[in-house]
Symmetry: D4
C-alpha cells in the first residue's frame, strides 16, 4: 500500500498528476487498488497451490467460465467443491476434469507437491462421514499438504483409533470428521498435542437433528486445542488446516 | 390379583359377603387393593431395600411426616433425594439423618447388603459431575447394589479411563454421568458389553445449553447398549440400574 | 488379555520371540489382539445369537460382501437393519433372505432359540409405530429372546392396555414405542416393575417436531425405571433389552 | 348497540341533537359506547360472577384502586390472580382480602353460587402442580362453577386416577394440569367424553425445559377433545372451562 | 358399570356362573366390558352423528374394511380425514364416497341434522388456511353442528373481520384457523364472548418455522377464553367444538 | 369517514333516509364503507404505482382473474411475486407478462417513473442471495423508486463493498440481503446514515438452519438504524423501503 | 472527505507538507479523519439533536466521563439508555440529570424542538410494555421528533385501538411495542399506511419464551410495511423511526 | 513408547524382571506410563510455558493444593482461569497471586518469554467482550506468545478496525471475540490471511439468546480460515492459538 500511495503523492509533488486526479483515484478505489484486502476469496496462498471454486449455486457455464479465466491467467490446478455429477459431466465436455464423486469435487491440473510443516490427518467416525472428509482432504492436498486418511475410527470401537496412535501423535494438524454424537473430536483432542479442527456432519437420524448434536458436542469438547467449523464444511476445515500447516514467521 | 378377587367371589358364592358389599369393594378400590399396579411410586422393590423419597418441592415437615410414617410401618432405610442443606438440618432436629451434601441426599437407617447379580459401575467425565453421580450411586446402594465409583475419567484424558478397563469390563451395569459433550457414554458403551445408562448433566457453559449438548450426544451414541435418562437424573439411573442388576425369571 | 501378553512375555523370556518382534506385536495391535475392547460393533453376544448389520448407507454389494464373509466364518443368522426394499431385492439375487418390509429388516438363517431370563414385551401406542417396534422385536429375537408384541395400546384408549395387564406384569423387559405425546412409556413405567426402554418415534405432525415431543415426554417420565433411546431407534432398544434379559453374574 | 345508535339517529331525526354532535359522538367512541366489543378484559360474564384482576405487573396501589372502583360500581366478588404475598399484605391494610398463598390469589367478597351446566374437574399429575391448579379452580369458582379437585393422580400411579373414574366420567369439563411429561391430559382425554383443557406446568427439571416438554405432549395428545393453554396458565383454563360450563343457546 | 358387575356377582351368588368364570371375565376385560372407558377413539357421540376415521397411515384396503364394518353395524355417516386423492379414488371403486379434495376428507352417507346448542363459526386468516379449516368444519358438521364459514379475514385487513361482527358475536363456539403470525385468535378472542379454539397452521415461510410462530402466538394470546390444538389439527378443533356445542347436564 | 357518516346523518335529519335504514347501514358496514381501514392489502399507494399480487398458493386461473379485474379498473402495472415458471407460462397464454425467473416475479404493464425522495440501494452478500434481492428491487421499482443494485459485496471481501462507498453513502434507504452469517447488515448499518432494512435469506447449509443464523445476526446488529423482515421476504423489504422513500408530511 | 484529502494533496503539491508526512497521515487514519464512515456510533444526526449513550455495561464513572466530554464539546442534550437507578443516583452527584425510572433513561439538557416530517406514534399492547416503549419514545424525542403515546391498546380489546384510529392514520412512523403474542404489529400494520417498526418485548411467561413468541409473530406479520428490531430494543426502534421521520433528498 | 516397553521386554529377556511383574506393569498402567496419551489435561507444552488450572467448580483449598503441588514439582508459572474474586482473595492468603479481575484469572510466577512463530492478535467487537478476550490473551501469554490487543473494533464502526489493518495483516493467528451478531469474525477473516479463531460471547440481550446468535454467525462465516470455539471460551481460543503459533516439524 505504502509504495502505491507514495508514488501517487510523488506524482502530485512533481506535478505529473493533478490534485484532482489523485483525489479521484484515492476516493474511487480506496481498497481495491491499495492492497488493503485480499483480492480474491480463494486467492492462491502460495506458488503452486490450487485455486478453489465453490461450485454450489453456480451453473456449469459459470464454473466453466471461471476455470478458463483462471487457466488463462496461468493457474492450472483448480479445485471445484460441492460439484454434483451432472454439472461435472457438463464440464467434462469443455475441460479436462478429474471428478471425485464421493467428495463432490472436480480437479483440473496436477495437485501441487506438499510443502507444509508436517502432515494433516483426516479422521472420520464412520464410513458415512467420508464424503465430508474427502472434501477436507482434497482441499488440503490441493493447497499443498500431505494428507493421511484414517476413516471409520469412531469411539464406539476405540481399538480402531488406538491402533493408529502413531499417526495421531505424529500429525501436525488433525481434522476430525464425525456425525451422530461427534465424540471423535474430544477423544482425538485428548490424545493429540496438535491443533484439532472438528467437522460435525449431518450423518445420523432422529435426535441428531441434521448435525446439531455433533456440532454441540464438538463445541463443548472438554479437550483443549479443538475448534469447530460449520456442519459438513469439509472445505473450511481443509483450508484452515492448510493455513496452520504453512505457518511461518512474517 | 387373582387370589384376592377370587376370595371375594368365593365370599359371594358362599354367602359370607353380600353382592352389594362386593360391588362396593370392587368399585371403590379397583386398583389399589387389587394389585393391578404398583402401590407406591418408590415402593420397596425387595426385602431390605430402601424406600426413596423425592425431596424437592416438599417441605421439611412433609418429609418428616412421610419418614415417620414409613418407619412406623417397619421401613428403616429411607433415602431422601434432592434434599437441600437447610431442610436436612431441619430434619435432623426430628430424626436421625446421615446427610450427604454433595449428593443432596439424606439417609436414615442402615444401607442394605448388596444382593444384585453383579456390580454397578458409576463413572463420571469430570469432578463437577460427581453430585449427580453420587445421587445415582447412593440410590443404587440403598436399593441393594454394590457400587464401584470411577470419577473424573472423561475422554479428554483417555488413559484415565483405559487404566480402569478391568472395572469397566467386569461391571454388570454401568452408569455413565457426563456433561459438556457427553462423549463418555459412547466410549464406555464401545468398551463394555453390559447395559450402559447414560446421565447427561447440566455441567458446562455456553453451547452446553444446560445439558442439552450432552443429552443429544448420548441419544446419538454410536455404541450399542446405551440408553439415556433425563438431565441430572441420577436417581432414575440408579433406580433402573438396580432393576437390571436384580433381574430374575418371573 | 493376561494370558496372551503373558505368553508373549514368556516367549521373550525363553528366547522364542525377539524383543523387536514382541515390541512390534504390542505396538501394532495394542487393542485388537489384546482383548481390551469389543472386536466388532455388532459382535455375537452369545453362541447362536445373530450378527446384526446396519444397512443404511451401505450399498447392496457391500452388505452382500459382509454377509458372505460372516457366513464364511460360520455365522448363519444375520439381521440386516434399515434395509430398503430395492437393496433387499438386489440381495435376494445373491443370498437367501427373509425380508420384512414393515420393519425394513432382512434376515438370513434361522432365528436362535430364546435363552434369556424372561420375555421382552414390545408395545406401541399406535399402528404407525409398528415399523420401529418390529425393528426392536426382530433385533431382540435375533439375539435370542422371546418377544411378546402388544401393538396399538396407546393411552387414549386405556382399556386396550389395561386388558393386557398380565403381559405387562409378567415381562422381564418392556420396550415402549410411541410417537406424538409419548405417554405410553410413563403409563407402562407406572404399571410394570421391570426395566422399561422407551423409543420415541417420528410419528405425528405439527408440534410433534419429528419425534421431539415424544422424546422429551419420555425423558421427563415421572415413572421410575424408564430410560430412553434415540428417535426411531428400534435396534438400540432391542439390543439393550437383550443385554438386560441375558444378565448374569460375571 | 342497536338501541344506542338508534336513539342517536332518532335524536338527529327529531332535531334534539345536531348532525355535528352525533358525528362527533360516533367518531369519538366508535367501539366503547357502541357495544361492538367487550368493555372489559375481565368483564362480568353473568350476574353474580366475580371480576378477575391480573395482579402481576401491577403495584399494590394500582390493584387497590381497581378493587375499590369495582366495589364502588357494585361488584363485590373480585379475584386477583398472580398476587404475591407482599402485595397481598399491603392490600389487607386497605381492603378485606382472603389470600390463598398456594394459588397466589386474593379474593374479596363471597364466591357466587354455582350456576353452570355441570361440574368442572381440576386434576393434577403431582403435588407441585397444585398452585397452577388452584389458580384454575378458584377462577372457575369465582365465575360461578362447582369445582371438584383431584390432585396428584399422575399416570405413573394409574390406580390413583382410575379409582376416581366416577368423578372423571361425570364431569362436564375437565382441566388437566401436569408438568414433566404431561401425559395426564392424554389419559384423561381417553377416559372422559367431555371437553378437556390441558394446562402444562413448568414443574420439572432438565429436559422439561421449563414446561416445553409438557406443552408439546399435550398438543400432540392422541386423545380427541383436548385443547391446550399456555404453560402455567391456570386462569386461562379456568376461564374457558367456565365459558364452556355456561353454554346456552343465543 | 355397576349393573354389569352386579349381575356377575349375582350370578356367582345364585350359582349360575362359577367363581373361575367370573374371575376370568373380570380379569380379562376389566375395562372394555365394564364401561370404564370410551369404546372407540372416534365413537359416535350421539344418535345420528358420524363416525370419524383418521385416514393417514392406513391403506385404502384398511380404510375400506373399517368403513364396511361400520356400515354393517348400522353406521351410515362416516368421515375419513387426512385422505389423499389416490386413496379416495381407490375407495370410490368399492364404496360410495363424497371426496372433498381441499379438506382431504371423504364422506359416506348423509350428514346429520344439526342438534347443538348454537352455531360453530370457523374463521381463517387467509385462503391458504382453508384446507385445515374445512377439516374442522366438516368434522363439526359430521358430528351434528351447524357451521358458519368466515374465510380470509386476517388481521391485516381488519375491516373484513369487523364487517362480520354479527356472526362473531352470535357464535356459540369459534374455531380460529391461522398461520404466519396467528393473530386472528387474539383478535377474535377479544371480540367474542364464547369459547375460541385456535388452530395454528403450517402456512407461511421463513421464520414461521412450519407453524411454530402461529402456535406460540396463540398460546400467548392476551385474550381470555382461547385454547389451542396442534398445528394443522382441524379435526381436533372440530371435535372439541362439537363437544362444547353439545354440552348438557349429566 | 366524516363526510360519509355526515351525509347519512343529514339524510336522517332531512328525512330522506329512515332511522332504520341508517342504523342498518352503520351496523352492517361499520368499517368497509366508512374508510376506517385500507381497502386492499396491496392497494395502490400513489398514482402510477403498481398493484402487487402475492402469487404463492394461488392458481394461474385465480391470478389471471385478479389481473384482469385490476386491469379492468384501470390498473395497468401489476407485479406478481412468488410466481413459479409453470404458472407464468400459463399466464402468458392469457395476458402479456414480463417474467423474471430469478426473482420469481411477473410484471404486466410499464414500471412507473420513480418519484421517491432518493434512491434505494439493494445490496447482497453473495450471488445466491440475488433472487430475494431482485424481489425487493422489482417491488421497489414497481412502487415508483429508483433502485441501485450492489450484488455480491459480502463482508468476506470487504474491498468490494468499500469500493462502492459512494453509492452506500448517497442512498436514501438501503436493503441489505444476506444469508449465512448475515454480517452485511451490520457493516452497511455502520457505514450508512440512512434507514437499513435487513433481509435474512435461507442461503447456506448446516448451522445456517434455513436462515435462522442470518436472522438472529441481523436482529442483534450492533449498528443503529437497522430493522429486519422475515427470512427471504424481499417483497416486504421493498414495500417498506418504498414507504420510507415516499415519506411526506400529512 | 474530499476537502480534507484535497487540502492534503494541495499541501504536497505546494510543498508545505512532505510526501512522507502525507503518507503517514493517510495510512494512520484512513477512516477516522477521512469521513468514510460515521465518526461516532451515536453521532449527532442533526443540529440540536441529542447524543445517546448506551449505559449498560458502563460504570457510573465511565458514563460521567463521556457526558462531561460531550458537554465540553458543546453537546448539551444527552440521553443515557439502560441506566439503572443506582448508577443514575451516582451520576446525579456529578451532573444535572433527569432520570426516568420506568424507561431506565437519564437525560441531561433540554430536549430539542421537533423538526421531523410528521409525528411518531408509539403504541403498546399492555402496560408492562411501557418501559420499552418509553425507551423508544424518549430516544425519538431526544433526536428531534414529536411523539404520540398510545399505551395499552392490545388486540384483546380492539375497541381501545380503534377508538384512536385518527392518531394511527395520521402518524408518519409507528412503533408497535408488544410482548406475549405480539399481534399488535399486524393489526396496526393493517390499519396504517406508514412504516411500522415492531418491537417485541420479553413480557409474558411460559411459551412466550422471553419474547421469542412476539418476535416470531412480528416477523411473520401478514401486513405489509412492518419491520422488526431485537426483543426489548426500544432504542433501536426510536433511532430508526427518527431516521425515517427526517428523510430528505440527498 | 517404544523405548519404555522395549526396556521392559529387554528386562524380561535378560531376566532382570519377571514375566509376572512385566505383565502387571503393562496391565496396570497401559497408558499413563507408556506415553500413549497426554499425561495432563493442561500439561506444559514446552519448557517455560505455564500450567493452566480451570478454577470453576474447584474450592480455594483444592486450587491451593494443586498450585503448591505444581510449584513443588518445579512449575512456577501457573494460570488459574474462571477464578472469582472471593476465591482469589482466599488464595492470596496462602500464595503469591497476581489477580486480573476482568479476566477472572489469577497468575503465579513470571510469564514466559514469547517463543512463538509470530504474534497473536486478540480483537473484540465491543468493550463488554473484553473479559473473554483477556482470558484468551492471558492464556496465550502464559503459554509463551506475544499478544497484541485490539479492543472495541466492532463492525458497526468499521473505521476503527480498518485503521489497524497493519496489525491485522501482520498477525500469525487472530482471535476474534464478539457477542451480539458476531460479524467481527467474518470481517477479520476476510481481511487477514492467517488462521482466525472465533469466540462468540454471551454479550447481548433478547434474540442474542445467550450467545447463540454470535455462535451461529461465526459458524456460518463466509470467510475462509475461520473456526469457532464454545461461547465465552477464551481459554480454548488462547490455547489453540498457542498451538498454532508454535507449529514446527515433528
Amino acid at each position: 500500500m505504502n509504495s502505491e500511495i507514495k508514488k501517487l503523492l510523488e506524482g502530485v509533488q512533481n506535478g505529473s498528476i493533478s490534485v484532482e486526479d489523485a483525489l479521484l483515484k484515492i476516493k474511487k478505489e480506496p481498497f481495491e487498488d491499495l492492497g488493503y484486502a485480499k483480492v480474491d476469496f480463494h486467492r492462491k496462498a502460495r506458488q503452486g497451490a490450487a485455486e478453489v471454486i465453490y461450485g454450489a449455486g453456480k451453473s456449469a457455464e459459470q464454473i466453466c467460465g471461471i476455470v478458463k479465466s483462471l487457466q488463462g491467467s496461468g493457474q492450472n490446478t483448480i479445485l471445484i467443491t460441492r460439484l454434483d455429477e451432472e454439472k461435472a459431466n457438463a464440464l467434462k465436455t469443455e475441460i479436462s476434469l478429474d471428478y471425485r464423486k464421493d467428495a463432490r469435487i472436480g480437479i483440473t491440473g496436477p495437485l501441487p507437491s506438499p510443502d507444509g510443516i508436517g502432515k494433516i490427518l483426516v479422521a472420520t467416525g464412520g464410513t458415512s462421514d467420508i464424503p465430508v472428509a474427502e472434501e477436507a482432504a482434497l482441499t488440503a492436498e490441493a493447497l499443498g499438504n500431505e494428507v493421511i486418511r484414517l476413516y471409520d475410527v469412531g469411539v464406539a470401537g476405540l481399538h480402531r483409533l488406538l491402533s493408529h496412535l502413531d499417526e495421531v501423535m505424529s500429525a501436525s494438524v488433525i481434522i476430525a470428521v464425525a456425525g451422530m454424537e461427534g465424540a471423535l473430536a474430544s477423544v482425538i483432542g485428548g490424545l493429540a498435542d496438535c491443533p484439532v479442527i472438528a467437522v460435525p456432519t449431518s450423518v445420523g437420524y432422529g435426535a441428531s437433528f441434521e448435525g446439531l448434536s455433533a456440532l454441540l458436542s464438538m463445541l463443548n469438547s472438554c479437550a483443549s486445542g479443538v475448534s469447530v467449523v460449520n456442519i459438513d464444511n469439509g472445505f473450511g476445515a481443509g483450508y484452515q488446516a492448510s493455513l496452520i500447516n504453512h505457518m511461518e514467521a512474517k
